[in-house]
């Protein structure tokens, strides 16, 4: 194929599609966490990228200091970082309830600076390698391309977690409580539900999703202090396109935009960094509250 003066080969196309799906998996997990937090607390968690980075570092520390492998990290890192998130909510965000939500946004922005600065201080800008677990090394031969096992795992794991979360929120009693508390917290409290605890746990859960994405990303990208800052702005664009607070919207938009970004790398590489933002501008022109969002 020859398009825009670029010669495109099929393996290149498949390769970029795969990278797009991988990035889409991370976008989906991260924007899902943002959507869950936004739905419950109506705040934009600017520290999300920092928590993603800390999730990856937690996996690295568990391996290097604790000798605990990838599978342990997959469970322990989200738990630990999620707990830090819950503490942050209790210590700081709780105090801003009732104030303009922009203050909470600025607070999480400040927290992101602190976390990122601390890690940059000790680890510099360079990355630590994190080996792919041996159960997931190697590649499948699909005939037309080689699919590394680890990458297939990331895509499947991310999809399972995303749709699992969606099911819990949309189809279970716990999810019904959550949605009810989003609509009318006072009424839900009157029914005897501990809403402040639910808010704390929701924030912790959203943060844990970011940490999980961090662990999944550790073997693919190096574990770097700047890894969160690099990805988070794209994720914000994904959230805006999908519609703030929409669970399914954030998941679908995450995967689709990952793929579109991958395809852009093949057909018009110069625009690959900006394509998501261009799409965002077009979507906003047509639907100011995003594809799946309710009117602001």
């Amino acid at each position: 194929m020859n398009l825009f003066g670029h010669v495109i080969t099929w393996p290149q196309l498949y390769g970029q599609l795969l990278i797009g799906l991988i990035n889409g998996s991370f976008y989906a997990l991260l924007s899902l966490g943002l959507a869950v937090i936004f739905g419950m607390l109506t705040i934009v968690n600017f520290a999300h990228g920092a928590f993603y980075m800390m999730g990856a570092f937690a996996a690295y520390f568990l391996l290097v200091l604790g000798g605990l492998n990838y599978w342990w990290a997959l469970v322990l890192s989200p738990l630990a970082i999620g707990a830090i998130g819950a503490v942050v909510e209790r210590l700081f965000l709780k105090r801003l309830v009732g104030f303009d939500p922009l203050y909470s946004l600025l607070l999480t922005f400040g927290l992101a600076l602190i976390f990122q600065g601390l890690f940059q201080n000790y680890f510099g800008a360079s990355g630590m390698p994190y080996a792919i677990p041996k159960q997931l090394s190697g590649a499948y031969n699909l005939g037309f391309m080689f699919l590394p096992v680890y990458r297939a795992w990331v895509i499947v794991a991310s999809m399972v977690v995303c749709f699992g979360t969606w099911l819990v929120i949309e189809k279970t009693k716990l999810g019904a409580y959550l949605r009810a508390a989003t609509e009318n917290p006072t009424m839900v409290r009157a029914f005897g539900v501990n809403v402040p605890r639910m808010v704390t746990l929701t924030y912790g859960f959203g943060v844990a999703l970011a940490a999980l994405a961090g662990v999944l990303a550790a073997p693919i990208n190096q574990v770097r202090p700047g890894m969160g800052a690099d990805i988070i702005v794209v994720v914000f664009a994904v959230v805006v396109i999908g519609g703030m607070g929409s669970i399914l919207g954030s998941i679908l938009t995450g995967f689709v935009l990952g793929v579109i970004e991958g395809l852009t790398k093949v057909f018009y590489p110069e625009a690959s960094n900006t394509v998501v933002f261009v799409i965002m501008a077009i979507v906003l022109l047509i639907r100011p509250s995003g594809l799946f969002g309710r009117a602001a």
Binding site: F38, T42, I43, V44, F92, R95, L96, F99, D100, P101, L102, Y103, L105, L106, L107, F109, G110, L111, A112, L113, I114, F115, Q116, G117, L118, Q120, N121, A229, V233, V234, F236, A237, V239, V240, M244, E270, N273, T274, F277, V278, M280, A281, L284, L285, P288, S289, A296
Partner: protein, 322 residues
């Protein structure tokens, strides 16, 4: 989100006017003696950032629109001005005007899309636009990517004033800053500014009174972009370069910090805040990444306990509006 008292009793208006005159006099006097006390280049940089923060404050303080992408206006104007002065041989004033005009145009386009939403949505959309501009500046050939535009000639302002003379340059920057500062004050105190403040307090009510709130917001956004551009373009002439730092997301965060520390919705807050933040970076530079951590701590502390900022707090104590 402004901490400024919404309505002040009528008898304080005369006190306010006097307080503002005194404050303005003190500021001009300080700008005049500053180069004899501190390193002039540092003061000029601080003045450029102060103007940038004043432009940002026009939106957050008086229309309650939090732009988290204001670096795009600072950076784009800086690049356009540097390119015009270096490659096209523009004299500095017209290069600066061209830079500010470019930012105003960018503000008009991005603003038309962004003001359709408000609050958090608006903030996110401005982040995304500024990122788009950032990547444009990384890729576009005239910006020279990571290297930036170096060695921008300072030239002769309107063919008369040689800006390569540090003293003339200092006066020039001070004049540009004061022009921008007074422009913000003029805008806020004009009938147009009153509508902006009314939109901040109660937008549906303003709409019901027959004002086109959207057009007012767009005009405020464009003006803010133009003034931020003026700051960026002047900074390019002062520092003789334009780089990716000025268009980065971190810079968008810094201007928020400056305004927050100084006091949102006050005229002098952004100026004090800019001075504090720039000094912090200057004097703490030896501590490397700790500067980022300290900035984060200041952010958190301001949001939790010091929402009025330095000037806002002082003004509230003295029961005046600055």
């Amino acid at each position: 989100m402004s901490a400024e008292a919404a309505a002040l009793p009528a008898d304080t208006s005369e006190r306010n006017r006097r307080a503002n005159l005194v404050a303005f006099g003190v500021m001009v006097a300080l700008i005049a003696i500053a180069p004899f006390i501190a390193y002039p280049f540092f003061i000029m940089q601080a003045l450029c950032f102060a103007l940038f923060a004043c432009a940002f404050n026009l939106l957050i303080g008086y229309v309650n629109l939090l732009s988290l992408g204001h670096a795009m206006f600072l950076g784009l104007a800086s690049y356009v001005c540097a390119h015009a002065a270096k490659v096209w041989g523009f004299e500095p004033v017209s290069a600066i005007v061209l830079g500010a005009a470019a930012s105003a145009a960018l503000g008009l386009v991005t603003g038309a899309l962004a003001i359709r939403s408000s609050g958090i949505y608006f903030a996110m959309i401005t982040v995304a636009f500024s990122q788009m501009v950032f990547f444009f500046c990384v890729e576009a050939p005239f910006t020279h990517g990571e290297d930036g535009i170096q060695g921008v000639p300072q030239g002769k302002a309107v063919g008369l004033f040689d800006l390569s003379n540090p003293w003339i340059l200092y006066v020039f920057v001070a004049v540009v800053f004061l022009f921008g500062f007074l422009a913000v004050q003029r805008i806020v105190n004009s009938p147009f500014g009153e509508i902006l403040k009314a939109i901040r307090e109660n937008e549906p009510r303003v709409v019901s009174l027959g004002y086109r709130a959207m057009q007012y917001k767009l005009a405020a956004f464009t003006l803010s972009a133009a003034l931020a551009g003026l700051a960026g373009a002047t900074k390019a002439i002062v520092a003789q370069n334009a780089s990716l730092t000025d268009v980065s997301f971190a810079m968008s965060g810094e201007v928020v910090l400056m305004t927050l520390v100084g006091g949102m919705g006050t005229f002098y807050g952004p100026v004090i805040g800019a001075l504090v933040v720039v000094s912090m970076q200057n004097y703490l530079a030896q501590f490397g990444e700790w500067v980022t951590v300290i900035q984060g701590v200041v952010f958190v502390a301001c949001v939790l306990a010091f929402r009025r900022g330095i000037v806002g707090e002082l003004a509230a104590r003295a029961k005046i509006s600055l």
